[in-house]
């Protein structure tokens, strides 16, 4: 048993407060660092953290229990092996890798080996859907893992990776670039172009371009910036949403690594436009390996006067960015939950209104935008609104970066114009014999062959970029179950329709799997699904039944009347 030294813990927390600040918003980073030190969060550590931040210990316990990356009871192994359980990795053979991991380590998922070396866990989407099955070992990523590679990975862990044949960074497959990905801008170029204009003019250029948010919802970026710019407050914030948790999405992971400065330029341009002095970069916990690149990029920008005081020589324009890590909660991608998380609370979405543009981080005006939105904004400031909006449709301007995975010959990252039909897209990725395509991730829609002439655009089928192709042999019921398990796990639990309703839908799917569901009951469940969409507070609950409904509508005959496999 680990013996804990209270005085030492108090000292450590006091040092961490110097780095992260002494208000409540420092809670998550402090807990993350303490878990790194102790391997888990012992009660004493949580109590002392509470005392140091002058909050009740129950508050700390509440936060620690919310995020899946925090461990409260058992010390985690020196190496935590997190295998992705999302549908793309599932289709790529995750089950066999899981089995072999259990065989090699002699433990089940959720357990730690007796020698304290290994913990085995499942995780949701690691953003490697085109190269699955994927696994994260602490902050190291492994792609295309096969059962025969498992023992080698374990040996490498035992050698503390002093010698390893596996690549340190797994490159992304960019299959098709367009005007956005093939830009030739240098760091700071977009920012300097923007600073030649007034704040209102910058927003005017973004408005003229027709840019809509790339995170999925497609809210006009200029409107968000204009409202935050007009709001009255001496403290305003810019937040980059790099929580990329939607199953099947991996474009932000690529953009963060290869277009870092353009994204940071975009955040700085937004800060200038709305009058913010501070920005947060909310990076998902699963992307911890990207943190050091982000920190390096920020440091270089400070040296080059692209962050800090009087940025790029503009008197009075001061702005800096802090990187904050998520801790394994998909719902924290929802912008108000993200803000709660930044403030040091459980990532539970807020009621809206009021909106973050006025009542965001610590009740101050805050804009939250997706990684790709900031990248686009930077390029628009240099190349102009017309350059951007000559692509796309009337209501969905520009090109979009897609993450394409599943049953196609060429999965990877594609830049394609909005308005492309699903059939055209399948031709691009060589997946023409697909029987269905999931557009927009688990919360999106499952589109069957008969609708492949429909377009991907905000006015037809919208998507934050996730496209999963299902080939002729995929069991659509298994797909529905995988998505529903995801939502049951990720619901924050605040509202009954989402918390309990999704469990009922999952139970219904399990009944279908056993071949024990009547059409009458199925119709009841479909009505329940509609109620969940209507009565949930945030986008998670509102969209969680989408896949359930669209799969059942399109594939009823495949799903009904099953004869269960014999055990």
């Amino acid at each position: 048993m680990q013996v804990l030294d209270r005085t030492k813990i108090i000292q450590e927390i006091s040092d961490l407060k110097k780095t992260y600040g002494d208000d409540r918003s420092a809670l998550l980073p402090i807990l993350q660092d303490l878990q790194e030190t102790y391997g888990y969060l012992p009660d004493l550590v949580m109590q002392e953290t509470a005392h140091a931040l002058e909050i009740h210990p129950v508050e700390v316990e509440g936060v620690a229990s919310f995020y899946s990356f925090f461990r409260r009871k058992e010390k985690q192994g020196k190496y935590v092996l997190r295998l992705c359980q999302t549908i793309s990795c599932d289709l790529a053979g995750k089950v066999n890798v899981a089995r072999q991991l259990e065989n090699e380590l002699g433990i089940k998922f959720g357990e730690t080996t007796k020698d304290g070396m290994f913990t085995l866990e499942y995780t949701n989407c690691l953003g490697m859907c085109d190269q699955g099955p994927a696994m994260l070992v602490n902050d190291r990523l492994f792609a295309k893992v096969t059962p025969d590679k498992v023992p080698y990975i374990i040996v490498d862990c035992r050698r503390d990776f002093l010698k390893s044949d596996f690549p340190k960074i797994v490159p992304s497959d960019v299959r098709k670039s367009g005007p956005i990905l093939s830009h030739d801008l240098k760091p700071g170029e977009g920012l300097k172009a923007a600073l030649n204009h007034t704040r209102a003019e910058v927003i005017g250029i973004i408005r003229e371009s027709g840019l809509r948010g790339r995170g999925g919802a497609g809210f006009p970026t200029a409107v968000k910036w204009q409202l935050a710019g007009a709001a009255q407050s001496d403290k305003k914030y810019v937040v980059c949403n790099a929580d990329e948790g939607e199953p099947g999405t991996f474009k932000d992971r690529y953009l963060l690594f290869h277009h870092t400065d353009m994204i940071l330029d975009g955040m700085t341009i937004a800060a200038y436009a709305i009058g913010a002095k501070k920005g947060f970069f909310y990076l998902r916990g699963e992307y911890l390996y990207l943190k050091k690149y982000m920190l390096e990029a920020l440091e270089i920008r400070r040296k080059n006067n692209l962050l800090g005081k009087d940025i790029a020589g503009k008197k009075g324009f001061d702005f800096d960015i802090e990187v904050r890590m998520g801790a394994g909660a998909y719902v924290c991608g929802e912008e108000t939950a993200l803000i709660e998380s930044l403030e040091g609370y459980r990532g539970e979405p807020r009621n809206r209104p009021p909106f973050p543009v006025d009542t965001g981080f610590q009740k101050n005006p805050t804009i939250v935008n997706n990684v790709e939105t900031f990248l686009d904004a930077t390029l628009i400031c240099v190349k102009g609104a017309k350059w951007f909006n000559e692509h796309g449709t009337e209501k969905s301007k520009g090109t979009k970066i897609f993450s394409i995975s599943g049953d196609c010959e060429q999965p990877g990252i594609y830049e394609l114009p909005f308005g492309i039909t699903i059939a055209q897209l399948l031709k691009e990725v060589k997946g023409e014999n697909a029987k269905a395509v999931q557009i927009g991730g688990a919360s999106g829609k499952c589109v069957a062959r008969k609708d492949f002439n429909r377009t991907i655009a905000f006015e037809d089928i919208s998507s934050g970029g996730s496209i999963i192709v299902f080939g002729p042999s995929v069991d659509m019921l298994k797909v529905a179950i995988n998505f529903m398990e995801f939502f049951v796990e990720e619901s924050c639990g605040q509202c009954t329709p989402c918390r309990d309703g999704n469990v009922k839908l999952l139970e219904g799917l399990k009944l279908l799997e056993k071949g024990r569901c009547s059409v009458t009951y199925l119709n009841e469940l479909m009505r329940l699904a509609e109620t969940i969409q209507l009565a949930s507070k945030c986008g998670l609950g509102q969209s969680s039944p989408n896949a359930f409904l669209s799969i059942l509508e399109n594939f009823k005959s495949e799903i009904l009347g099953r004869v269960p496999e014999k055990a």
Partner: protein
């Protein structure tokens, strides 16, 4: 007599304000969106604009105020319930909300006329 342009997406509100202003002897022209507002402004060249904020887009009034000020020195009275509807806290500022008076709806006719008189002097 001075001419006032009223821009608001609520036709009842536009009519009500028009009656108040016409009774006080002003000439009135009307528009119900940012786009229409700019067209009427160019055609009628009013001496003052009474402007709503949330129309087709939630920031239309702010954008229109910026466009108007870039074009002419016309005084603008921003009249809005944006604060109550959204919980947002706005006020005039020189760059993003370049208006001369910022008032919350509902407003008493006497107060509205007083503000307009002041602006036109």
């Amino acid at each position: 007599m001075a001419k006032v342009l009223i821009v608001d997406d609520d036709p009842d509100f536009v009519s009500a304000v028009a009656i108040v202003l016409e009774n006080a002897g002003y000439k009135v022209c009307k528009a119900h969106s940012r786009q229409e507002g700019m067209q009427v402004f160019d055609k009628e060249q009013p001496n003052l604009v009474v402007l709503d904020v949330m129309m087709q887009e939630p920031d239309d009034g702010f954008v229109m105020a910026q466009e108007l000020k870039a074009r002419a020195k016309v005084p603008i009275l921003m009249l809005t319930s944006v604060g109550q509807v959204t919980g947002l806290d706005f006020d005039k500022d020189s760059e993003m909300v370049p208006v001369d008076v910022f008032e919350q709806k509902p407003i008493m006719p006497s107060v509205l006329l007083e503000r307009i008189n002041q602006l036109l002097q």
